[in-house]
């Protein structure tokens, strides 16, 4: 048993979306990592890409579901995270969703009210179709844009002023492209999620504008059966919507308070360790945490489409091969033990000869 710490031991699990992470780049396939890591720490901070499994999710009581833009602001010291018992969730539906698909999403929302007891407010439809465009950069990462971002923000503003929503779930009509190579790769558990970049833009825009928890579920027509579907992608093909996990996550997502003296909540100083894929060390949040001298654990097995290694940016890290090893490092750190002492070799201390 690890003795209770005087302050909560807090880990951040970063698995960026849209860069083809071998673990976590598909349908909530990093959720097992989060479940185990949650057992090793007092508080686990991670983002929707890690915890969302479309129809599947797992309530991790000590996990904080924090959207990516909010993670950046938290790492920068601008925002604190205030855990809550529950949020009233407002739902925004893209006007571009066809009636049957829209009804599926409303029924999914109603199901979470009846079966999970989630608190949803009345919902809003955007004043025009949002029109999502998908793209991919030369580095292979998924990017995307929303043609009518202002319509999304007006819908959010309406929701917030007319209801008492404390978190926002967005459902946007995404292009159906069942024959694309990118989608076929994704269904086989390889390549990059083609939707990820645009999804991030949607939630980032709302979080930036309103400083409120937000997460997104794409609305798509069901795909034809594929006997070769990868287990990593399967969670997104067992139902009509991706909405349940989003609502479950937002129901207890922490709220964001502007950091200042006397403001309550968890601040970036309370983070003990950050875990990241080794080849994706160029994000804003990680750069902030590196600057703060946080212990950063870089997992080599979680390959991505990128080659942004920590050494190239002057970020000191502990390199490990797997998440199993990373969790061992975290437990060692929490126990106050140098993780290197769990290995068979030990070198002697050296005289620095500084004179």
């Amino acid at each position: 048993m690890i003795a209770p710490a005087l302050t909560p031991y807090t880990a951040v699990l970063l698995i960026p979306t849209g860069i083809g992470c071998a673990i976590g780049g598909y349908a909530g396939d990093a959720l097992p990592v989060a479940r185990v890591l949650g057992q090793a720490v007092d508080c686990l901070i991670t983002h929707p890409n890690v915890l969302n499994g479309a129809q599947l999710y797992w309530p991790i009581p000590n996990a904080l579901y924090v959207e990516g833009y909010a993670l950046d602001r938290f790492a920068a010291g601008d925002w604190n995270l205030q855990p809550v018992c529950q949020n009233r969730i407002g739902l925004i539906l893209d006007a571009g969703i066809e009636p049957d698909l829209r009804l599926r999403h409303l029924q999914a929302a109603e199901a979470t009210r009846a079966t999970l007891g989630l608190h949803l407010t009345d919902y809003v439809t955007t004043d025009r179709p949002l029109e999502v465009c998908l793209g991919r950069s030369s580095t292979g990462a998924s990017w995307g844009q929303v043609t009518h971002l202002d319509s999304l923000l007006r819908a959010a503003e309406t929701l917030l002023t007319q209801t008492k929503a404390e978190a926002i779930a967005v459902v946007t009509r995404f292009p159906d492209d069942g024959g694309s190579e990118a989608l076929q790769d994704y269904r086989q558990g390889r390549g990059v999620d083609p939707l990820a970049g645009a999804e991030a833009v949607i939630s980032h825009a709302i979080v930036r504008a309103f400083q409120i928890p937000c997460a997104h579920a794409p609305a798509l027509q069901p795909l034809p059966l594929d006997p070769h579907l990868s287990p990593r992608s399967a969670a997104e093909e067992i139902g009509y919507t991706f909405l349940p996990c989003v609502l479950a996550g937002l129901s207890r997502a922490p709220r964001f308070h502007t950091a200042s003296p006397g403001v309550s909540g968890l601040d970036t100083a309370g983070v003990n360790v950050v875990i990241t894929p080794a080849s994706a060390c160029g994000g804003s949040a990680l750069l902030h945490w590196a600057a703060q001298g946080k212990t950063i654990v870089a997992v080599e097995e979680n390959t991505t489409t990128l080659s942004v290694y920590p050494e190239s940016l002057g970020i000191p890290v502990l390199r490990v091969q797997s998440y199993l090893e990373a969790i061992g490092v975290v437990i060692s750190d929490r126990a106050g033990v140098d993780a290197q002492r769990l290995r068979s070799s030990i070198s002697l201390l050296k005289d620095l000869h500084f004179s």
Partner: protein, 74 residues
């Protein structure tokens, strides 16, 4: 963004790529990237996507936004 978004305002978002010289520390790198991006709009999402060590360049990909008033209200 704390002011009401009127129907005559649109949000323009652009995907951009930038080369930013590598800095001596992660904090300086983060700040240099933000400054460079703000010349193009309000940064919404960005990351270093490639590092050219020989030329000491960080290649950034980003989405930036600008609010555009599409008609003048009387």
């Amino acid at each position: 963004m704390n002011t009401p978004l009127e129907l005559n305002t649109s949000i323009e978002s652009n995907f951009i790529t930038l080369d930013v010289p590598l800095e001596n520390s992660p904090l300086q790198m983060q700040q240099a990237i933000e400054i460079a991006l703000k010349q193009w709009g309000d940064p919404l999402r960005w990351a270093v996507m490639e590092v050219d060590v020989s030329n000491q360049i960080a290649k950034i990909e980003a989405i930036v936004t600008k609010a555009i008033v599409t008609q003048i209200k009387e």
